[in-house]
């Protein structure tokens, strides 16, 4: 489980999963799995998502270490 704020960021710029997927060049299922924290994307894909939602890596993918351990 890898927590992130992709869903929040995506909704803020008014994109559907399908639109975001097309923009970063993956399938909708991959976006869905990333949002659920069930797929660990490569840094390249993370950057592409960040560019698409106009946010930094920090804002979308940063999780404080304590929270991460609680999740595991």
């Amino acid at each position: 489980m890898v927590k992130n704020k992709v869903k929040l960021a995506r909704v803020q710029v008014d994109l559907t999963q399908q639109q975001l997927a097309e923009e970063v060049g993956v399938t909708r299922q991959t976006i869905s799995l990333i949002e659920k924290g069930k797929y660990n994307p490569t840094l390249k894909l993370c950057l592409a998502i960040c560019y698409a939602v106009n946010k930094t890596l920090d804002e979308v993918f940063w999780v404080p270490e304590e929270e991460k351990h609680e999740e595991d």
Binding site: G25, V26, T27, Q29, T30, L33, Y39, P41, T42, K44
Partner: protein, 143 residues
């Protein structure tokens, strides 16, 4: 078929290929084993499947050299040693085996001895050179 661009699906595809490879290898081993039991080993080594099996094994171990070179980082040596001792080792192996063929119990012809010597020399030199090249490339990256 469209080219897969999704990284998750590319990974999944590789995993599927790995499973298919395992099944195929298991099948080849099963067929070869069956042939060995029913017809004897000399029949098996004439079988083209045997050649395919050995070839895949050789290719896999050559490709895995890249992995082993990265794995034995612990030895602490950064730069690879000079190249000439490897040539000398390969030459010695080639020469010793040529002499063994010529003067050993089999007593082969000089022509056979030279061919075997050269083949072994080239094989040893090729693998030593590849590892040397990988180590050198890695130490260049580190530096």
């Amino acid at each position: 078929m469209k080219k897969i661009k999704d990284e998750r699906l590319i990974l999944q595809n590789l995993k599927n290929i790995r499973i298919a490879f395992l099944v195929q290898s298991a099948g080849i081993v099963a067929i070869l084993l069956y042939e060995t039991i029913s017809k004897g080993f000399s029949e098996v080594s004439d079988n083209p499947l045997w050649f395919v099996f050995i070839l895949t094994g050789v290719i896999l171990s050559w490709l895995n050299l890249r992995i082993s070179v990265d794995m034995d980082d612990k030895s602490g040596k950064k730069a690879p040693g000079p190249y000439y001792p490897k040539v000398v080792i390969a030459a010695v192996v080639g020469m010793v085996s040529a002499l063994l063929v010529k003067f050993g119990p089999d007593g082969g012809s000089t022509r056979n001895a030279i061919i075997i010597g050269i083949v072994l020399f080239v094989c040893f030199l090729a693998s030593y050179s590849f590892v040397h090249y990988l180590r050198k490339k890695r130490s260049d990256h580190d530096g």
